[in-house]
Every structure is written in C-alpha cells, then in structure tokens.
Symmetry: C2
Subunit: 608 residues, 2 copies
Amino acid sequence: MASLLLSRRDLDFLLHDWLDVGALAAAPRFADHNRETFDAVLDACERVASEMFAPHYQKADREEPRFDGERVHLIDEVKAALDAFCESGLIAAGQDYALGGMQLPLVVANAGLAYLYAANIATSAYPMLTLGNANLLLTHGTPAQVKAFVEPELQGRFFGTMCLSEPQAGSSLADILTRAEPDGDSPFGPRYRLTGSKMWISGGDHELSENIVHLVLARTAGDDGRPIPGIRGLSLFVVPKFLVDEAGALGERNDVQLAGLNHKMGYRGTVNTLLSFGEGTGYRPGGRAGAIGYLVGGLHQGLACMFHMMNEARIGVGLGATALGYTGYLHALDYARGRPQGRRIDAGGKDPGSPQVPIIEHADVRRMLLAQKSYVEGALALNLYCARLVDEARVADDDAVRAELELLLDILTPIAKSWPSQWCLAANDLAIQVHGGYGYTREYKVEQFYRDNRLNPIHEGTHGVQGLDLLGRKVVMQDGAALRLYLARVRASIERASGDAGLKPHAEALSRRIDRLASVTAQLWRDGEPGLALANASVYLEAFGHVTVAWIWLEQAMATRGRDDDFHEGKRRAARFFFDWELPRVDAQFDLLARRDRGPLDMPDACF
Amino acid sequence: MASLLLSRRDLDFLLHDWLDVGALAAAPRFADHNRETFDAVLDACERVASEMFAPHYQKADREEPRFDGERVHLIDEVKAALDAFCESGLIAAGQDYALGGMQLPLVVANAGLAYLYAANIATSAYPMLTLGNANLLLTHGTPAQVKAFVEPELQGRFFGTMCLSEPQAGSSLADILTRAEPDGDSPFGPRYRLTGSKMWISGGDHELSENIVHLVLARTAGDDGRPIPGIRGLSLFVVPKFLVDEAGALGERNDVQLAGLNHKMGYRGTVNTLLSFGEGTGYRPGGRAGAIGYLVGGLHQGLACMFHMMNEARIGVGLGATALGYTGYLHALDYARGRPQGRRIDAGGKDPGSPQVPIIEHADVRRMLLAQKSYVEGALALNLYCARLVDEARVADDDAVRAELELLLDILTPIAKSWPSQWCLAANDLAIQVHGGYGYTREYKVEQFYRDNRLNPIHEGTHGVQGLDLLGRKVVMQDGAALRLYLARVRASIERASGDAGLKPHAEALSRRIDRLASVTAQLWRDGEPGLALANASVYLEAFGHVTVAWIWLEQAMATRGRDDDFHEGKRRAARFFFDWELPRVDAQFDLLARRDRGPLDMPDACF
C-alpha cells in the first residue's frame, strides 16, 4: 500500500523536476550531496515516521500528558519514537559537519520532516522546538553556550523550548513582565536571575531528555532601577532546567517550576505548560530564589534575536499545517476509492439492483478531493520553494544576491505560515466530509488532523498578526523592495508560461491579479493612514496568499511540460482547478481593499 | 450579566418587529396566544437552558456515554436536565391541546429551543429526536400508535429515535438491507419481524426514559419472496425497546440490542449507537428472534413518510448549527470586551507605558466579530422565517396558499439546513480565533462549539446531498414553480427596499445577483445533461445560500427603519457588512456555474 503520509512521487517531482535541488550541490557546503543522499534521508524519514511516529498518533491524543504534582507522564511510545529519531542523526541533518550534522539543504530536510509531521505532529513538536532553539543559540549564543546547550540538543540528549508568551502577553510581547536581574558573571556569560510566568510553553516539562533548555524573553531594569518598558526592554536568556558546568555535566535543579498543563483541542500529545520562573518554592539554586539564566546576544536585543528565528519557525508552522492537510487528503482519497455508496447520476445509475460505486465516482467527491489536492500540493510546493530560498541565501557568494533572497523570503514568510494554516485546515475539513459520518468519529484519523491543524492559524503569530506583518512591514520595508522582487519573480514566471498555449490562459489570469495586487497595495498606502490601511490587512493577506499559490501552481504546471503520464496530467488538472475555482476568489477581495472598507474599523462596540 | 446563549433583544426584534408573530394569533389555532404567552415560553426556555442544560455542557463532553456490555451510563446531569425540561411541558409546546400541548407557533417554539441548543446541543438532542419521531407518528401513525407511543413521548416518558442509516447505507438509503417479515396482526396494525443493523442512531440506548421508540426503515419482500430492491421496497416501522400493550403498560423486552457506541469529535453527550435488530441472542420476544415492529403509513411508503419529516428535521439541524454559532459569537464578544492585549495602531498606540486596550479595539477583531454577527443573526433570521412559513401553511384556509407556502419551504429547506451548518461553523472558527490560544483550550467553550458544530454539515443529508436536492429537485420541480415563488418574494423585498435611499445600494446589489441566479439556473439545465448540471451542485447551493441570506439581511434592515438606537444601528451595520464582504463572493461562483465547469466531473481517478 502506498504511504498515506505524503506522496513520494510528488516530493520527487517538486525537489528534482521543479526545484532542481541537485544544483545546490554546486555550493561547497552541499558538495557531498546528490540524489542518492537525498533519497536516503527521505527514505529514513519515511521509515521512522511510519514505524515509530504514526502508530501512537491517536493514542497520544487519547492519553494526554498528565501532571501528578511532581512529574509529567507521557505514554512510553513518545520517548521511543524520539529516541529512534535522535539516534538516526536526522535531528542534526541540516547542521554543520563540525556539529555532527549532515549539511543537508533545508529544502530536503524539510521534505523529510514533513513525513514526521504527517505521521504525528504532536510528537514531532519536541525535536522541532529543540532545533529552533539550537539554531537560535548557534546564531546568537557564545561558543560556551553552544558547547553546553546546543551540542547536547543536536545529539538529542537535551530538548529545547521557546518561552515568549505570558498569561497577559500573547501577541503583545511589549507587555512581557518576566524580570531579569543581574547576578554576576559565569562561564556562559552574564548571569541573571529570572522571575515570572510563561504561558503556552510546549515541551516545558517532561522526562524525555536529560535536560530542558529554555530560551526566555525577559525584561531588565534601566539605570534608574525601573523596568525598561516596551520591546526595547527585552533581552533573551538561556535558562536550563538543570544547571550545567562547563564540561556539560548536569548540576543543581534550576528554579523553574511547572505550574500547570494546558489542555487543548488538538496537539494533545505535546505537553503544553504554564511555567513559573524564580518562585523559589521548589528549588533554590545557590541557596536562593530566582531562575538562573545567561544572556544570549546583546542586552535589549531579545526581540531582534527572536525575530531572526521567526522566519524559520513560521515556515515550520506552515510545513506542519501542510503535512496535516496532505496526509488528510491521502486518507480521504484512500477512503473514497474503497467506500461504495450510491450510484452514478447519469444513465445506468438508476437501477437499484446494480452494485454501488466507490464514492470517488461521484463528481462532488472528486470536487472535494481536487480541492484538497490543489491546497496541499500547492502548500507543499510553496513551502519547499521557501526552504530552497533559505538554502540559496546560505550559500550565496554575493552579498547583494543574498540580500535579495532574504528580502524575498521575508515577504513570503507570512504567506508560507498563514496560507497552509488556513487552506490545509480547509483540506482537513473536506477530508472529514469525504468520509461522511465515519470521518466525524475518532475511529478515523481525519477528525484529529482537523483538530490538530486548528492550532496553526493561532501560534507563531495569528492570522491577524501575519496580515499586519505583511501589509504593515513586509510590503513597505526598504521602500517596497521586497514587493518589487516578488512581483518581478511572479511576472517572470508569467512571461515564461505565456509561450505555452496550454498555460497561456493561466498566465493571463495571474497577470491580471498580480497587476491588481500591485495597484491595490499602492491604493491602501496612498495617504498614509495606517489605521485604515491595516484594518483590512487580513483580507490582504488572504488575497496575496491565493495569488502566490496560483503562481506556485503555474510554476508546477510548467515543470510538467512534455510529460503525459497520469501523475503529470493530475498536476496540470489540479493547477487548472486552482485557476478556475480558487484564484477568482481574490477579485471580490481586491474590490473590497480598493474601496478601503471602513465597516469593521468604524463599528462601535455598543452596536454589537 | 447578559446571557451568552442568545440575544433576547435580537429574538424580540426578529419575532415581533420583523416577523410580526402576533399576527399569527388571528388564526383559530393560535388564538389564545399573544406577546405575553410568547414571552413566558422564551423566559422558561432561557431559564431551563441556563440552569439545567448549560452547566453540564463541558462535563458531558469529557465524560462520554459508556457501555459496560449491559447498560449505557450517562452523567446524572443529563437526566436531571431532561426531566426538568419535560416537566415544564415545553417538549409538547407546539402540539395540539388535545395531546397536552400549548398550540404554540413553531416560530416561537424554535426560538425557545434555540436556547436549549445554545446551552447544550448534545443533551437537547434527546427531546428533539423524540419530537421529530412523535410528529412523524402523528402524521402517519394510527390512533392506537399515537396513543401507545406518541402520548408518552409528549409527556417525556418515552424517547424516540430515527433509524435510517446502516453501515453500508448512509446517504444511499436505496441500499438499506434491514429486512421486515410479516408476523400477523396486532392492535397497532400489521406486525413484522425486523432483522438488520442500524448505524449512527442517536439516543439508540440509554435509561433516560421508560422506553425508547425506534422508527425503522426496512425492506419487505415482493410476491416472489425476494426483497424488493431500491427505495420502493422500503417501509417504515415503529419498533419499541419494550413492547407495550394497548393500555400503554410496558411488557417484554424487544429484540433490539446495542452493538456498540460511536465516539465522535463532538456531540459527545448524545449517545450514538450501532443497533442490532432481530439477532435473537439477548432477547426473544414471543420466544423467537426478530424485533417486533408495526407498520407506519402504507406498505412501501417508508421513504415518503420520512421525507415528510425531513423539512422539519433539516430546519432543526440548521437551528442547532445557528444556536452554536450564536452562543460562540456572544462568548467571543464577551471575551473581546474583557481581554486587554496590545495597543491601538493609530496615534497614541506606540507608548508601551500606556495601558493595553481590550482587543475589541482592534479593527481585525471587530472584523471577526462583525462577520460572526452577520452569519449568526442572518442564520437565525432565516430559520425563524422558515418556521413562520410552517405556521402559516398550517393555518392557511386556502389550499392554493398553503401549497405555495409549502413550495417555498421546500426550496428554502436545503438552504436553512446547509447555510448555518457552513457559516455558523465558520463563526465558531472565528470565535476561537478571537480568543487566541485560550480559545484552543478546553478551558473555554468555543472549541467545543466548533467540534460540536462540525457534525451539522454531515447529518440529515450532507452538503453534497443538499446541493443535489436543491438543484436536482427543488428548483426544477413543478416546472420551476418553487424557484419562481422564491424569486418573486426576493424581488418584492428588493422593490420595497428600493424606495429607501440608505438601502437602495443593497437592493441593487441583490437585484443583480438574483437575476444572475435565475439565469445561471436556466443555463445549468439548458440541455438536460444532469450529470454535468449536478456536478457543481454544491457551489450552486453555496451561492444560492449567500443570495438568500443577503435577502434576509435586507429584510432585517428594512425592519429597523425609523429606529436610531445602538441595537438597530448594529443591525444596519451587520447588513452592510454582509452586502460588502459576503455577497460579492457569489460572483465568482456564478461565473463558474455559467461556464459549467467540467474539472471535477472529468478528473480521472488515476490522476489524483
């Protein structure tokens, strides 16, 4: 039976026929790689995903993490899966050889990770958070911090977290209250004592690893001794659950306490916590209260350090949403091929004595499958495209080229995060619908995909936050440089597609919308009233997303040229579906944006 | 604190200012009623909903029905709530005085029931199924059946079910396998022995009531002794869990066995079962296997009997979806007013030392609230409009008038079922989004509203089935008579609104779409290729739905004329939002329909 996680055929098409990842091997960093090493990684990921991650997907949902007041209990399968993954070395796949990594391009690493996400998003969260944590420390940490914390992370011995939100500060990081007070020096840099509460911390406490490395955003005091308000008062600290010495040996328990678990609609297998730093009631390192942390990066550079990692984290969320949508689609397709129900509408379908047909024979079921295909394959392609930009930027010799790649990535990131979070969730909704009543039961996985995927429009910046980021920052920064680069890339694709009679209608359809996108963007900002421009930022984000994915579908369709088998024909038909059924949605959105609708902005509270 | 279930202010507006339910009292059936009696019923429903139904909403979800192999266990609060509801007499509110009812108009009864649905949809399901069951027997049953089964149902002593689906026959009732063999006569009419399995039976087994009255669709044999295939072989039978004598005394246990419970994503408080009829392993009434059932209505009239009830059941599903959307909106509104987060985008918002503002101050949050308001108030208005048509039809003196009302109801029913199921679920999605991370946890109710509401696009006919019903039956039946009536009503509203300068733009916008709807319908059917016409029936359903709700919003806006307070201004703003943000979606859908897109129809299986 073909895998119901991802389509390897599709991955091969995207990586090789479209994105030509083999060409990356021209760069010294990737010189040891070729199709064989890439295939081996994907094979290994698919195997560990199928054998170790998928089997406990539903069990981990049913039997949630439990806190007995002292310890967090998880089902045993989680640790077994993570141990297998870490032992395979895949956690460090993209890292330098010097760190024990494989120097694998991100585009291939992400394709591999997508198998894990599709198999068990909740169990995958632990190593993925750890990787994000390690990458941040690699960028901003000192060599001693890297040695003490990152190396064990890349060996799978320590896991990591990101501690940003607080109960009163979610989207608004400017309102973080956690305090950090200087506490002398240390081999890991300036030492601080932290006090405060952190909310929604995934992987915040467990016994899956020897230690947990928290990265904590906290506020320091100014010269007047008062906390510096706003985001400029924030710095980043590494706060281990167990203190370590320079040699890496575990020492005293730090003053970080689990205050409680959050119970979510989905993602239940990922322990999600409220953590108390510096209460001093359970642990008093060095004999007094206060969680010991070491400054990472410069003082007051906390948010800058985090922002550096946000592109990666947001693309990761988009990839998770994509993988959930993708596996849901494959489950729905499998069900539709095997479930007999009803007869065809056309001639011959009226005879009740004739056998029932598989539901894939019904046009409306095919509509739901085709919509899913266009969403999930479009999202995966977009995600891998972005990952390839990361790789290109990493190995670019020319600073100007690298700057351009990073700009393009900057503007695509809110799309790569939000579009799959919205449309691959819509795909999961359709996957349930294809299953009918069965899809609504917990005997089938599709309902869990849907519950799990509902987190993705919320964490790592809600849809609303992504819209503000796109319209309020990304399209205007550097006088619109990122937008110009984006428009030029899309127009170059349109130009290339226009020569193909089969693709010309798509190219024209996209051309009209890309022109409209450019003009609407200018209209929104024409008189510099940001409150009005940004009032409709979410709609702008959605329209921008659909235009972008149409472009990605045009690119995919071009990559099928000269191939007439079912797979490539299916790609072309999915592209056509996206252009016929999906892209036209943006016209009404652009009309609304062009009018600069004031409805929500002006709605008085009392009128609700 | 105002109720977070429904807005009484809105209900009063809809019932009195818009639908003028007081005018129904002109009919002899409703002659005893007036504003006071209506208010008393709504007050009673709100009270029992708040005090008895709402408090165990989350507990019933956490502690699902459990089957120990012999008995089904539910939490005690379910029975306490249902006993309170039944004792209040509300279950029989719409019934004849002769049956112990109040002869309340359905439009008021449904407004009252909406409180129960909003408070606890799962617990409400038991009496609602019972009422549907009773209404069917009142229409098609014999006086002896009514006395033995309906009267105890309306007293809340017996509960009822509908047993249609089987594991291999969900949407395709033509494939039902349950058999019924003649077994002599009885005081309740021709007696049969039934054998087969019924799936997805809500309320199929429990100890909430003295008895359970199953209405079962089953197949009889023809003269040749072989089962008559297709839907014409189906008849309807009343099959009680405990046999009863003519005096209503409970007797022997019937051969109906609980084979297992289904475990769903939501609606967990409603026990949902797989039932085995006629296995003979647990109970053998009269000493042999075979569930005893009594024919309801004529032989082979099973589906006709069921269809008679389907309008009511489908409007009921739409009302449940609406109530879930409505209470979710009120919860989101309450949260948005109380949750401080971030600062305003405009001048003054940059000072991090200023206090955070409630999130309702953010335009994007107001957008999400306004969208919810436009969906849930539009859905509630549509539902009550349909219920009023039922009341008008019931008391119409003139057969031609009644026939017209019923035709209009026929064409509106798929909309009244599907539109709230889609858009009030979308409202629940937005309610989660307004809550951010908190909304994704089980500490807040909005995630459960979303899970519960996800059932509604599936049961009582999926979206796909509703689309086929609308485009394949309702708009073409009687040579398009229902569609003509519908168009005439909408155009009459447009005509009335056109004289109002404030509403003229809405009237024109709706006029363009209603003309388009008429022309697209004709285009779809122009060459009688049903397979192609129906391939896009779901899109047609969605476009028809949005046009219909725009009409309902135009009607509501007209009903605010001359009133300038916040409530009425809010109605007008919500109407404007629907016209500006929602109605334009249909243009792309009509374009697609006009092209008679073949994409899904022609997609080969191998290309997925």
